[in-house]
């Protein structure tokens, strides 16, 4: 909401403050002022009279002698505007003048001295929407009333205003009225506002009929004024409209807007002669189309409020008038409408039609329903003053409003309890009086507060507490930590587990944060863990963010792709995020690796591989206390063309699929714009792991007897898995086997379908030193068992 500082000063004396100080006070009181700007920043202007004006040969320029009054004398100025001519009064920016376009200097143009510049309003910084055609193509033509030599030309043009841009909160629609802003300032600054003088006009009897057939319009009033002349508004009205961001149209429209800006109550002006019948009736049950003032045709649905006459829509109630029934330059007789339309209904229609007006904004946020008679009279007086009026009718009204005062039973003790203050009741009631509350029934600490009619947001003691503290400031609030009932804070088991996993991964991977909303294509990729249809938004902003992702992997791959395209190579990333599918929420982990793992910078690096991912998985399982026999890695059996079928695996908890890991399928790289880099991905349902019961860890005695180590080099078919060999050795070796580990795998073309696997076997006895004979016997047993499976010793 733009607020004219000059207009405010007509209702409250702010002469002891600067606009910036006023803005600070408003902001501190909860009415945030976003900016304080001058309507025109131009300086060093003076009214001039063009005495001589001759074209400079072969140019479009005019050489002018301009009389700038006794102080500045006659100055020679070169002017390029087509409309400059002898006898014109113009705005001259003197050398040294600061204009939005830069500083004015004495110049030599085509050999002639030019001592200033003739200006258009545009050049003074006036917004293009307020200037007419002449100012767009030429310089501003001043009317004859301007005096030559006048240096206060901005003031007389109404352009010396300062604009406060208020960021209004949803609970203060009353501040969509300049007069209420003045009242707000009076409250905060402990000043008085000048009363809004309303000269009540009774008017003549009329047979004009108003009625509402909708409960969404509880009040509708109108007045007929005949014999008016439509023309431009006077500067007194125009300047306030321009300052508040509203474009002047003609005196009738401008008066409607002027009164709305002042009071917050929207008005509408009809051309009486264009109404099919001497009536205005509000309906909400018609379906038709409607041509509005903006020349667009809008559909009207059942439930939309319209003002009709003889069953024809005349106005899209509270939003915009009709192109046919609104006033125009030929209008002689008008009907002024002041009505109360339901905010929610207006909001629905306005949102549906994507049509927002100053009027709809005010209805949507809620209006003061107790001031309509004053509003009509204010407008009537202005019409009488500026448009002429041969006859004025009585106000005809339909009113089903309950005119009951908003009384709140309050207790000063309760207000102090809410605020943590210790104010005496008198301080509280006096403060509320500053905000135009009426105080009555004071008994001890109890009292009744009647809210002012413009404060439609007040509905309880907490609101009163807020009024008190925002007016008096927060310095009396006693700041102390709460003492609390017996509850303790801590991370729960799941949160603790997640934190542990993050600590582990943070050492070697970057933790990224990506968007939950993805496009349709991405929503269908890497959905192994979630086959259900992902959630789709019914009102996305863009196609790129229209689906709630069922998998984290596509998001990570997009991050990988971005970084590879920006010369970041060799990295691993991870994200832990909730996945929402099918009304269930689960925590997922995804990892993506590409390039080399820098074990010691560039000096010592190793390509990321399937086994890097597997390492992360094993570490996480170990951290969570999930032993290796509780989960299984299975060879890829899910098909698809997203993961390399020979270098990928599923992660299972028994029958349940809880994750997968592997190298990307060659055909995926192109989808993500990844070139010449292998990428490895893992996705794991952490919730499935968090829910697993894990036993407590218990101390076991460390054996004091030495261990024996034996290495075996084995030849076997290349399809034999290392796990099979290890299990075979453990089974055949019996209880003496403490551990078996593969320490080398070798294969070359001379070995046909065979490979060599070397294993290190650690043997020991828990209760005695192992004898050589025992070791040898065990190894022989193992060899025999291996041989049975066609595994030979090299």
């Amino acid at each position: 909401m733009l607020v004219s500082y000059n207009w405010l000063n007509e209702y409250i004396d702010l002469s002891d403050l600067t606009p910036t100080e006023v803005a600070k006070r408003l902001t501190a009181g909860g009415v945030e002022v976003e900016t304080v700007t001058k309507l025109s920043k131009a300086t060093n202007l003076v009214v001039g009279y063009v005495k001589e004006c001759d074209l400079v040969k072969d140019t479009h320029l005019s050489l002018c002698q301009i009389d700038l009054g006794p102080k500045h004398g006659v100055k020679q100025i070169i002017c390029g505007a087509p409309n400059v001519r002898k006898g014109l009064k113009v705005i001259v920016a003197l050398p040294g003048a600061s204009l939005p376009g830069g500083e004015i200097k004495v110049a030599k143009i085509h050999g002639y001295d030019s001592n200033g510049m003739c200006c258009s309003l545009l050049e003074l910084g006036v917004d293009v929407k307020y200037v007419d055609q002449i100012d767009l193509t030429g310089i501003h033509e001043l009317s004859d009333e301007f005096k030559v030599g006048d240096e206060d030309v901005l003031k007389h043009l109404g352009l010396d205003d300062t604009i406060l841009n208020l960021k209004l909160l949803a609970n203060r629609p009353d501040l969509l009225s300049l007069y209420n802003v003045a009242k707000e300032l009076a409250t905060l600054l402990n000043k008085k506002v000048k009363p809004l003088k309303v000269n009540t006009i009774k008017g003549d009897k009329t047979d004009f009929v108003v009625k509402s057939e909708s409960d969404k319009c509880p009040q509708f009033s109108a007045r007929v004024i005949k014999g008016i002349t439509v023309k431009d508004s006077p500067i007194e009205i125009r300047k306030h409209l321009i300052a508040m961001g509203v474009r002047p149209i003609n005196n009738i429209v401008d008066i409607g807007n002027y009164v709305m800006l002042l009071t917050g109550q929207p008005l509408h002006m009809y051309d009486l002669d264009k109404l099919p019948k001497n009536e205005l009736i509000v309906k909400d049950d018609i379906e038709t189309s409607f041509k509005a003032l903006d020349d667009n045709t809008y559909p009207i649905r059942k439930g939309d409020l319209v003002v009709t006459s003889d069953n024809h829509p005349m106005c899209l109630a509270g939003i915009m008038g009709g192109s046919e029934s609104s006033d125009s330059t030929t209008t002689k007789n008008i009907v002024i409408e002041v009505a109360n339309f339901n905010g929610a209904t207006i909001r629905r229609t306005s949102t549906y039609l994507n049509l927002i007006s100053e009027s709809s904004i005010r209805y949507t946020h809620g209006i003061n329903d107790q001031q309509y008679v004053d509003v009509i009279n204010l407008a009537t007086n202005l019409v009488k003053q500026y448009c002429g009026a041969s006859s004025i009718s009585e106000i005809v009204t339909y009113d089903k409003l309950k005119h009951q005062p908003n009384k709140i039973k309050a207790d000063a003790k309760k207000i102090n309890e809410i605020l943590g203050t210790n104010y005496p009741i008198s301080k509280i009631t006096n403060t509320l009086k500053r905000a135009y509350f009426k105080i009555s029934d004071i008994k001890g600490s109890k009292f009744t507060a009647t809210a002012p009619v413009h404060r439609i947001d007040i509905d309880g003691v907490n609101d009163l507490a807020e009024e008190v503290v925002r007016i008096l400031g927060y310095q009396d609030v006693k700041s102390e930590l709460p003492t609390i009932a017996n509850i303790v804070g801590a991370l729960n088991d799941k949160q603790h587990k997640e934190r542990t996993i993050k600590h582990l991964l943070d050492a070697t991977l970057y933790q990224v944060l990506t968007y939950v909303l993805v496009n349709e294509k991405r929503s269908k990729e890497f959905t192994y863990l979630n086959q259900a249809t992902p959630y789709k938004l019914i009102n996305p902003m863009t196609d790129d963010h229209a689906y709630v992702r069922p998998s984290l992997v596509p998001s990570l791959l997009d991050v990988v792709s971005y970084n590879l395209a920006h010369q970041n190579k060799d990295f691993g990333i991870y994200e832990i995020s909730d996945i929402n599918v099918n009304e269930k929420k689960e925590s997922y982990l995804a990892i993506a690796l590409t390039g080399d793992e820098k074990l010691q910078g560039e000096l010592h690096k190793a390509s990321y591989s399937f086994y890097s991912l597997k390492g992360y998985l094993e570490s996480i399982m170990a951290l969570l206390g999930i032993s290796k026999n509780r989960y299984q890695l299975r060879e890829w059996n899910l098909g698809g063309e997203e993961l390399h079928p020979g270098r990928s695996a599923t992660i299972n908890l028994g029958r349940e699929l809880i994750g997968y890991l592997g190298e990307l399928h060659p055909s995926v790289y192109q989808t993500y714009g990844i070139k010449n880099n292998k990428v490895y991905v893992l996705e794991l349902n952490l919730s499935a792991l968090y829910n697993l019961a894990t036993g407590a860890e218990k101390f076991k005695t460390i054996s004091r007897f030495p261990v024996v180590t034996r290495d075996l080099a084995l030849m076997m078919n290349e399809d034999v898995k290392s796990d099979q060999v290890i299990n075979l050795i453990k089974r055949s070796g019996g209880s003496l086997i403490k551990s078996v580990e593969v320490f080398d795998v070798y294969k070359d073309e001379t070995m046909a379908n065979q490979k060599s696997v070397a294993v290190k076997i650690v043997l020991a006895k828990d209760d005695a030193t192992l004898k050589d004979e025992e070791t040898n016997a065990t190894i022989e047993k193992i060899k025999a068992a291996l041989l049975k499976e066609n595994i030979t010793i090299r």
Partner: protein
Amino acid sequence: MDLEELKKKALDAIKEAKDELDLTNIRNRFLSKKSEINQKLGGLKDLNEAERKTYGQAINEARGAITNAFNKKFQDLKAYNLNLKLKREKIDITLPGASHHLLGTNPIYLVENEIIHIFLGMGYSVYEGSDVETDHFNFELMNIPQDHPAREMQDTFYINNSLLLRTHTSPAQAHAMAEAHGGPVRIICPGKCFRRDDDDLIHSHQFKQIEGLLIDKKINLGNLEKTLETFVKKLFGEKREIRMRSSYFPFTEPSVEVDVSCDKCGGKGCPVCKGSGYLEILGAGIVNPRVLELNGYDPNEYSGFAFGIGLERVAILKYGVDDIRRFYTNDIRFLNEFKRR
């Protein structure tokens, strides 16, 4: 050679010895069985008793001195050689260390962890909400009924008529209150939020918040102020001050906007804070009695406060990040700027 001369000669030779070979030769020459000194010892038998005693002592003394000098020299040489060897083994300590060092991370997580840590210390628990919420929890229970103007303030992504992406972390308040069955509550809820904004320098359709809610008997605005002041000083430093300003949220009354003093100018006003001396960081307030009622509490018995902290906002203030989209682009170079935990 007389004994003194012999001793001097031996000691000089030991002194001059360059390596272990020299030393071995010297030992053979001066201390072996055939050495002159031992021969002298053999010659003792030709002397009378008194002479033998005196002379024998002198020989033994000379031999002891030579042996000691030899042993010392031997140790010195050994130490010298070891030192030489260690010097040859010297490495370049400026080469990079093996990578177990912490990598950079998204600063949003840093801020989130720090805030959670601070509130855990003040006795709060972490409550987790869900990205997908119902209209009922996101709006109705937060005192934002259908057609409330506040619904415009947070334009919402809908999945269907009742399901939506939460526009704030406040629905966690309603869930936590339901789980507390009318008893005291002290939680924070970190989470992702979504609003129908175009992504630009300062807007993001996805952002993170941490909601806070405390409900007990006789909770007042001063309790809220001290809690947030404690939080701000821990997060931004002891020198920072907070300021409350009246504001509006449907779920709190009174509502306040909380500003933190500008660290550039310390509250005097500068371009960073646009002259105000303060920077907006969060919204808060006393829980609206209507919200307490809606969620099964008796507002005459219980009261509380709530606050909502925007993590992007905090990260931007704390680290001076220039564009909110950077948090969601995850450029490794950007992430590498944030290593401290």
